[in-house]
């Protein structure tokens, strides 16, 4: 019993770490983007200030589904983050860092979000939710194909297992071993993070920030926290799957920063797709590349 409690405490620690890390990263990257556009940009801790300001405010409610959905979203995402390994040895629940657990657990958070947004009754929110679901449908398929290739090659679906397989030299980092798959995964990751050009479901000014349109105060703050942790989960997944995980926390931080910064830079120079363009885009080249990569890696056995 004590052990389980310790594990849960540890897991919550991981989630908090992820939140702090990603919020700081977000701030730093806002500054980088600002420099790119010849602005000074906000302070690096601006995002913390925003979130704590929002949390201290009162909020209006739109019925119990609306409130409950927010809590479900946040709880689900924190629950997911608890399972995330940081380095190969720092895992809260050993043996449960399975890729499939993340696939299904992360859906709880998304679902809460969708429920809450539709519960608000704002048509723009519904449009946003529908677009988010459609985008998800588009990017998940190629990403799954690539990840399955990795799982098939390493013979394990545990994240630390995959990371260790890359560290011990059984495989090169999968970004090198599976170059085509890596490109696909980068595109999918941009879709997951809701970065341009795939930010269609938020689409500020077009559908008034989509699912989030009706939120304010505490609830918006909670959604921000949820958003940050989601990004933490997705980027860490990527690090573990493609960049060989990390032996030490320092390495993890470096890799994390590089991935996020590069994605941020790429997204800042791109425009926004229309929703049908998103779907056709993902089902055209990424899916094709993913399948080709899977064929090459598994059928022909050509892994660099």
């Amino acid at each position: 019993m004590i052990e389980i409690l310790m594990n849960i405490g540890f897991g919550l620690g991981v989630a908090t770490f992820g939140f702090v890390l990603q919020t700081a990263m977000g701030g730093i990257n806002r500054k980088i983007a600002a420099r790119l556009q010849k602005r000074r940009g906000p302070k690096w801790y601006q995002e913390f200030i925003d979130i704590f300001k929002l949390l201290s405010k009162r909020a209006t409610s739109h019925g119990w589904i609306f409130d409950f959905g927010v809590i479900m979203a946040l709880g689900g995402i924190i629950g997911t983050a608890m399972f995330m390994p940081i380095t190969s040895s720092i895992v809260a629940f050993e043996g449960y860092d399975n890729f499939f657990i993340f696939v299904y657990l992360i859906a709880v958070g998304m679902l809460g979000m969708a429920m809450s947004a539709s519960g608000s009754g704002n048509p723009l929110a519904s449009i946003g939710v529908m677009r988010a679901l459609t985008t998800m449908l588009a990017y998940e398929v190629p990403f799954m194909v690539v990840v399955m290739t990795i799982i098939k090659l390493t013979g394990t679906s545990s994240l630390t297992g995959i990371a260790v397989a890359q560290q011990t030299g059984d495989f090169n980092w999968f970004m090198i071993a599976l170059p085509l798959g890596f490109i696909v995964a980068v595109m999918s990751l941009m879709g997951m993070l809701g970065k341009k050009p795939f930010e269609t479901y938020i689409a500020p000014a077009e559908i008034a920030s989509g699912p989030m349109v009706e939120y304010g105060g505490k609830q918006l703050g909670m959604l921000f926290i949820m958003h940050e942790i989601t990004i933490f989960i997705e980027v860490s997944l990527f690090v573990h799957l493609f960049l060989g995980g990390a032996e030490t926390i320092i390495m993890f931080l470096i890799k994390y920063f590089i991935v996020y910064a590069v994605l941020n830079l790429v997204s800042n120079v791109l425009g926004r797709f229309k929703i049908d363009q998103v779907v056709t885009f993902f089902f055209k080249w990424p899916l094709f590349f993913a399948v080709v990569q899977a064929m090459i890696a598994i059928h022909l056995g050509w892994v660099i």
Binding site: M110, A114, S126, T149, K152
Partner: protein
């Protein structure tokens, strides 16, 4: 105590209930309760009928798999009957025949006897669907079902000609020695069962039946029958025809297309019942796929979890449709706001099918997926333990999209849709939803239960 009672008692009761119309509903309740309780007290030994030993005579196989499936199917049957009997008193004797047929399907160890039970339960099913008041659709179902079972019989008789036996255990040893030659008859039998199991090219009847279903027929066909047929499929695929090579590839292809096409059609549909029926086509595909690749134990529980969820989903949606008069999602908008208890149970069932954690569906889906990547799991298909996880995962993603769409519509705020559910129905639905959660939380226990279905060699239990 003998397993034959599970078949004989319902048949006898059916006969009595024709003679004495007044008591028939009570008799039905009593007998279906008996069928639910009885498996708990059964001995684990095969039953020989008519005094001939098993390769020659007909035998009933009672093993853990049979017991598990009997408890699941009879439990669902009892609940369906208990909830609906007040409205459909006239069908009592037919339902008793259906019960006998279903129990026979799950128990019999003889391939021809299986055909007989398919027909018995099939005829009962046609009669149950006449309550939809859509004779043309029922007729289509009847034609499809009859052709299917005829093809099954044809394949069976070719196999009999080759092997000289109709006993499943005997057939298994024969098939093992003569893999290639059993290809054609097996395909015929597969098609025949595929009609009932809603697999893709053979499921044209499903839309007509489930798209117009009522409280009784929807739950009966989509939940009880679907579970039973999936388990029968499992019995054959895991116990008799351990297929491999080209044949497995063909079948896996059919199943893969079934899954994806089913999900795609569910995604495209705007009617609540159609979403559910296409989704159940896809689920059936997944279950049989798991059986085909050799993950039989988890497939069994997949089928059961699915049956429980489908009971709730179809039960609720049919009741809503009956009251509102349409199953368009927009018409049903917000129905759950005034029925929170039902709404929550419906949500639980949908999420369990989706495979979200906390629910039974997650335990099952998760473990099946991990099963694909177990080091000692060798797929009998080229690339099998790579493509199928993708298909299942993609299917889950699509499911996620349309179930969320459905749920958000049904939970829509401010609605004037008011539907009354009977207290009994509410009670049953809530209990089932709680069961889904309980099984989802006690993951370890479920895994033990599954492990007990697998013998040390890692082969799905047969004898």
């Amino acid at each position: 105590m003998s397993a034959i009672l599970l078949i004989a008692v319902p048949l006898l009761a059916a006969f009595i209930s024709i003679l004495v119309k007044k008591v028939s509903p009570y008799l039905l309740l009593l007998v279906s309760l008996f069928a639910l309780v009885y498996p708990f007290f059964m001995d684990m030994s095969d039953v020989i009928i008519g005094g001939f030993d098993s390769p020659i005579g007909i035998n009933l196989v009672v093993n853990k798999f049979a017991l598990t499936s009997l408890i699941a199917v009879n439990g669902l049957f009892f609940l369906v009957v208990a909830v609906n009997i007040a409205q459909y008193k006239k069908l009592s004797s037919i339902l008793l025949v259906a019960l006998a047929g279903l129990n026979g399907l799950l128990l019999t160890g003889d391939l021809f006897n299986l055909f007989v039970f398919i027909e018995i339960s099939g005829i009962a099913a046609y009669l149950i669907t006449t309550t939809n008041k859509k004779p043309l659709q029922t007729f289509n179902y009847l034609v499809a079902g009859t052709v299917g079972s005829s093809l099954y019989l044809l394949g069976l008789i070719i196999l009999y000609n080759m092997s000289g036996t109709l006993n499943m255990a005997d057939m298994a040893t024969f098939v093992e020695g003569n893999g290639m030659y059993t290809l054609f008859p097996f395909l015929l039998m597969f098609i025949g069962l595929g009609v009932e199991a809603k697999l893709l090219p053979f499921n044209s009847w499903v839309k007509g039946i489930l798209g117009h279903s009522n409280n009784l027929s929807g739950a009966m066909i989509a939940s009880v029958y679907a579970t039973a047929i999936a388990l029968v499929f499992g019995k054959l695929l895991a116990g008799v025809f351990q297929i491999e090579g080209t044949l497995a590839l063909i079948i896996a292809l059919v199943l893969g297309i079934t899954i994806l096409a089913g999900e795609a059609m569910a995604y495209a549909s705007t009617k609540a019942r159609e979403i559910l029926l296409y989704s159940s086509i896809a689920q059936a595909g997944i279950v049989i796929l798991l059986f085909t690749v050799g993950l039989g134990a988890w497939a069994t529980f997949f089928a059961i979890a699915n049956g429980v969820s489908k009971f709730i989903l179809f039960g609720v949606v049919n009741r809503l449709t009956e009251e509102v008069g349409s199953d368009e999602m927009d018409q049903l908008k917000g129905s759950f706001v005034n029925n929170k208890l039902i709404g929550v149970s419906f949500t639980v069932a949908a999420l369990s099918i989706l495979g979200l954690p906390l629910f039974f569906g997650f335990v099952v889906k998760m473990n099946s997926l991990i099963g694909f990547f177990e080091p000692d799991f060798v797929s009998n298909l080229p690339g099998g333990n790579f493509i199928f996880p993708i298909i299942i995962l993609v299917a889950s993603v699509i499911e996620g999209v349309y179930f969320v769409k459905l749920l958000t519509k049904l939970w829509y705020k401010d609605s004037d849709v008011k539907v009354n559910f009977t207290p009994l129905f509410k009670y049953v639905v809530v209990v089932l939803a709680v069961a889904l959660i309980v099984f989802g939380l006690f993951q370890g226990e479920v895994e033990e239960l599954v492990a007990s279905l697998i013998n040390p060699g890692g082969v799905f239990i047969w004898n």
